[in-house]
């Protein structure tokens, strides 16, 4: 019922679709076969559903899908679109900053945002910025290390 036509930019490509107002951004992305953003806690607390809208991180599970109309949406899948892992992705591998990997797309997108705002972050900057991302395998020390490695790699 009452699906609405929306046009937006998805990972650099203009796209169009129709979606109902009660759907969230994660549900919208699934229709484009993008599964990097996952709805996990559903309350904006865990960060697994992190998506960038007009360059800003949002919780996809708490963002109405129709609100991306006219906006630019970036998901974790865009980071290696040129066949090359981003420095943050590479650093997560090098530091072993995950076990099961479920939270990793969210951590990686948030780390990209973090490094944009704090190119040379302290441990405190990292802990604070990523406090809204949960890793149930508790790979936090390695995640912090990975962010610092990525900061060095992009300096």
């Amino acid at each position: 019922m009452n699906a609405r036509a929306i046009n937006f930019t998805l990972n650099g490509e203009p796209v169009s679709t129709a979606i109902e107002p009660h759907r969230n951004l994660v549900e919208l992305l699934q229709r484009f076969d993008l599964f990097g953003a996952r709805e996990s806690c559903g309350q904006g607390l865990c960060g697994c559903c992190t998506v960038l809208v007009d360059g800003k991180a949002v919780s996809g599970c708490l963002y109405f899908a129709v609100w991306v109309d006219g906006k630019s949406v970036t998901t974790v899948e865009a980071l290696d679109a040129d066949g090359q892992l981003s420095p943050v992705q590479q650093a997560f591998i090098d530091a072993g900053a995950f076990q099961c990997g479920y939270c990793t797309p969210g951590f990686i997108l948030m780390s990209h945002q973090l490094l944009k705002e704090h190119p040379n972050p302290s441990d405190d900057d990292i802990r604070h910025y990523l406090s809204g991302n949960l890793c149930r395998c508790a790979a936090y020390p390695e995640i912090i290390e990975a962010v610092k490695m990525a900061a060095k790699a992009t300096a």
Partner: protein, 287 residues
């Protein structure tokens, strides 16, 4: 979430006209981060949401007006408050409070007006802005009105707003040398909803506290001033004995509620201690 209609007015007047004073299933939505939680939990099933994004630009500005007062448009995001140079300069306590309010993603989306109008006693902005003596501007179908933020809350998730009224801005008077602080306690994780929030502001004259405001949230059904604690602080030097008396007075007068973040007696004891810490923090950080 269940299906509903979403309308996107392009003016404040149109937004107000799309609301209905008699219909609780029609509500405005700003950032939606709090409303969506209610919708996902099934406690709110809208028939229509009046989305305010298309009237955003003119109501999202933060500016200094009237000799140092800070006027914050209701559609400003919490991230704007966090990073705005005027907020940092004129009301540093507000910028500091943002650092521990939820997380980066929620602050990027949640709006100031929504955080005030939602009436959730666990939110941080209501107690901080109340302690700063903030006023809110409200638009309705017939007239606009203003009130102290302190007068907005009437109960648990309840405000005195009509269902077809919208908060358009909040105005924070200049500190004029007053000291202010906000402390909160989270009992599970660092970024969880708080068990207790305490905001204080006061003037210091000849080494004694004048015109104190002590505002409690999260532990109570709504944002509440602790009048007895304020009377205890009034005219006294902020030494250990005074702060202990004020903490005891607040613990005595608070009507705390039990919830997932702590029992009523636990929150009472938190207040006894954290009121002292809030006053000390205000003295330290604005020295």
């Amino acid at each position: 979430m269940t299906p509903f209609e979403m309308v996107e007015p392009t003016s404040l007047k149109e937004a107000v006209s799309l609301l209905d004073p008699q219909e609780p299933t029609i509500r405005p939505v700003a950032g939606g981060t709090a409303l969506m939680l209610m919708m996902k939990a099934g406690v709110f099933q809208p028939t229509r949401l009046v989305c305010l994004h298309k009237i955003e630009p003119e109501h999202a500005r933060i500016a200094v007006v009237d000799g140092g007062a800070l006027r914050i448009g209701a559609m400003a995001t919490l991230s704007q408050l966090e990073h705005d140079a005027n907020v940092a300069k004129h009301q540093p306590v507000l910028a500091r409070a943002m650092r521990t309010l939820s997380n980066v993603r929620v602050r990027n989306v949640a709006r100031v007006g929504g955080a005030l109008a939602h009436g959730d006693p666990h939110m941080d902005l209501p107690p901080v802005l109340t302690a700063l003596g903030a006023r809110i501007s409200i638009s309705g179908p017939k007239q606009n009105r203003e009130m102290l933020l302190e007068e907005l809350y009437s109960g648990y998730y309840e405000t005195v707003l009509e269902k077809n009224e919208l908060i358009t801005a909040v105005t924070v008077p200049p500190l004029s040398g007053r000291k202010a602080a906000y402390v909160k306690v989270t009992s599970r994780t660092a970024d969880d909803w708080p068990s207790l929030g305490v905001a204080v502001s006061f003037a210091l004259k000849d080494g004694t506290i004048r015109d104190p405001m002590v505002v409690v949230s999260a532990a109570t059904e709504k944002v509440t001033r602790m009048r007895t604690a304020e009377q205890t602080l009034q005219g006294a030097a902020p030494d250990d004995a005074t702060l202990r008396r004020a903490g005891d007075a607040a613990a005595e007068e608070v009507e705390s509620l039990s919830d997932a973040h702590g029992s009523a007696p636990y929150k009472r004891e938190l207040l006894r201690v954290y009121l002292r810490r809030a006053v000390r923090q205000a003295l330290d950080e604005n020295a």
